[in-house]
């Protein structure tokens, strides 16, 4: 039995070698099908990684109370009509909250200009916040340190800059101790945040953090809505913190029991949902395309196997006259069709590996949105392609193999 399998594989290889073009054309559908499966897996792998990165930006133990819903799922009209979250409300929440580890008010000034060394840089975001922000994912620094409680208390002239700000302005030069100007106010750079941005959050590296007091000295705090970061803490229960937060916010915002929340709670969970939708779409498209390709592929392989069986009718007759059982005959053809598909899968894997490598290496230079692409195919794709191709081969080879096994030996021997 084992020897028969080994012989059949050798025979299949031989047949493939003598008929390369025919074998290639026959397995084209399977090659396309497997390639789609691989590319789909590759894209999803990249999306997963992008999602993980996004989660680490947001923090899986963080809630962000905001006027705006970050995922855009809430009705935009009703969101726009919400009252701003004021600094006073943020302070109240900070004082009253019992279950959260940190409650951190944030206020954003988009499109801020920076002056440094006589040049003006546009499109950065100034964030006024507290020293406790250092304990959120933003506190992961590349250089220097975060500002402390004293600097926060005094509204010191210090600034922690995002990675893109650092890269744009300082171009690799040591930024620590250098002075940059925001709205004409000189601020000393004391820290640089590690690069964090992904396809979903590329703006995040443009952020610059200053003490909230300093912010209110530069801009009018009351014109903007605050965003409140809440860190549940490792051991704390996120659900409990969320419940308390909603309760407190409703009191602080003076909501009547029948009124809906006039604020959004943003957290990683919400992003999971929108990524899930994206995944689902990729899956659906992939499944439809794969099914089509595999139907074409199976027909192609089946066709070529019928031709092969006909070509080898005499051989089948000889084998039967020597005592081959039906099992031996169909095994031989099933192995041959699986082998053909497996070769197709290997071809697909080689092609897709090359595509993945070049796409991930060179495309993001032109299209930053696709920086989530992985340069190497996820390992499980190799296993999946192998298994799927063998399965397809078995499926496509089934009917031709049965036909071969059923051939009448006398007639088969007479065949020329």
């Amino acid at each position: 039995m084992l020897y028969e399998i080994k012989e059949s594989i050798l025979l299949s290889f031989e047949a493939l070698r003598t008929n390369k073009l025919r074998a290639f054309l026959a397995s084209l559908g399977v090659v396309i099908g497997i390639s789609i499966v691989i590319m789909m897996g590759w894209l999803l792998g990249g999306l997963d990684k992008a999602m993980q990165d996004t989660f680490s930006i947001i923090g899986t133990d963080m809630l962000y109370i905001d006027k705006w819903d970050w995922t855009g799922n809430d009705n935009w009209r009703s969101v726009r009509n919400r009252k701003n979250i004021t600094q006073k409300q943020a302070e109240q929440l900070r004082k009253l909250h019992g279950s959260a580890e940190y409650v951190i008010p944030n206020i954003n000034q988009w499109g801020t200009n920076i002056e440094y060394d006589g040049e003006v840089y546009q499109g950065m975001t100034a964030v006024g916040t507290t020293a406790e922000n250092a304990f959120t994912p933003v506190g992961n620094l590349l250089l220097g340190r975060y500002f402390n409680e004293f600097e926060e208390e005094f509204g010191s002239n210090v600034i922690v800059i995002g990675h893109l700000v650092y890269a744009t302005i300082f171009k690799g030069e040591n930024p620590l101790g250098k002075t940059i100007k925001l709205n004409g106010r000189p601020l000393r750079v004391i820290g640089v945040v590690k690069k964090r941005g992904t396809m979903f959050f590329d703006f995040i590296d443009r952020q610059m953090f200053i003490p909230l007091k300093k912010y209110s000295a530069i801009w009018d705090v009351d014109k903007k809505s605050m965003s409140i970061g809440i860190k549940a803490g490792v051991d704390n229960n996120l659900d409990e913190v969320r419940t308390e937060t909603i309760g407190l916010m409703r009191i602080i915002r003076n909501l009547k029991p029948n009124e809906p929340n006039d604020f959004s709670i943003n957290e990683t969970k919400a992003f999971e949902k929108s990524i899930e939708t994206l995944r689902l779409n990729v899956y659906m498209i992939g499944i439809v395309m794969t099914s089509l390709a595999f139907i074409v592929g199976i027909i192609g392989i089946m066709n070529i196997m019928f031709v092969t069986v006909t070509e080898r009718t005499k051989e089948i007759g000889i084998r039967k006259s020597l005592g081959a059982k039906k099992r031996s005959i169909w095994l031989q053809f099933l192995i041959e069709s699986s082998f053909l598909c497996l070769m197709g899968a290997i071809l697909s894997l080689v092609m897709c590996s090359a595509i993945a490598y070049f796409a991930a290496t060179y495309l993001p230079d032109y299209f930053p949105e696709v920086s989530f692409l992985l340069p190497v195919l996820p390992t499980e794709l190799f296993i999946i392609s192998t298994v799927v191709s063998i399965f397809v081969g078995l499926l496509a080879g089934l009917i031709p193999a049965i036909r071969a096994a059923r051939l009448n030996p006398v007639e088969a021997l007479r065949f020329d």
Partner: protein, 234 residues
């Protein structure tokens, strides 16, 4: 009394050709014992090959009974028939019927593969069979690298390798010149003398005369079945 290997009674084979029925065999009854050397003689179309295919369990008769080594062949399923062909019967064909892509040795190994014999034993037996037909120096040659006579020797070695109860040869010299044909007939004689049972299908009187017993067929009927008193021996 010697042991009957083949025992057929009232065998008929009818083919349907369009609306016409072809009686290839009519009411054939024959017994063939161990170590007999039988020639099935008859003109083309007399039913020799049809009978041989039935005797070789490649085909089934339309009616009649067939006992092979005291087993009723009608009661066997496909797998059991394959096993009989594998272990008990060695075929030799006019057109050799070797696998073109396999070497002589591999061709001879094939029946042993189907009987599930281990590799080293297969090679040993195949080499021995090749030696017995005098081709030990052609083991790695493929059929197209061998002459007609050599190909037929490989085919005979393949028929012998499982030590079958009987060797069925359908016009084994039909595609060979007379000198090479003679060599093959000499080989059959040696095999017979060393205890093998041989049924030789031929339409040539000269060839049939090498056998010990001659059964003459005509239009699917047995015309005569006699001991050959003029057996030609080498």
């Amino acid at each position: 009394m010697s042991k009957p290997i083949i025992d057929i009674k009232n065998i008929s084979k009818i083919y349907q050709m369009g609306s016409q029925l072809v009686h290839a065999l009519r009411d054939i009854t024959v017994t063939i014992n161990e170590n007999e050397y039988v020639a099935l003689m008859g003109p083309s179309g007399s039913g020799k090959s049809t009978l041989m295919n039935i005797l070789g369990c490649l085909d089934t008769p339309s009616s009649g009974t067939y006992f092979f080594n005291n087993t009723n062949v009608r009661e066997l399923n496909d797998n059991e028939l394959a096993e009989i062909r594998n272990r008990e019967i060695g075929f030799v064909f006019q057109t050799f019927n070797l696998l073109p892509r396999a070497t002589a040795l591999k061709n001879i190994e094939l029946p042993l593969v189907y009987s599930g014999i281990k590799k080293y034993e297969r090679i040993e037996k195949a080499e021995e069979a090749l030696r017995s037909v005098g081709l030990e120096d052609r083991m790695e040659h493929k059929p197209n690298e061998l002459s007609g006579g050599q190909r037929q020797r490989v085919a005979i070695a393949r028929a012998l390798v499982t030590s079958p109860s009987i060797i069925l040869a359908d016009e084994p010299t039909g595609n060979l010149d007379s000198k090479t044909g003679n060599d093959i007939m000499r080989l059959f004689q040696t095999l017979w003398e060393s205890g093998n049972t041989i049924i030789l299908v031929t339409h040539e009187e000269e060839i049939a005369l090498h056998a010990k017993r001659i059964i003459r067929l005509r239009d699917g009927l047995i015309e005569s079945d006699e001991i050959n008193n003029n057996q030609v021996k080498f």
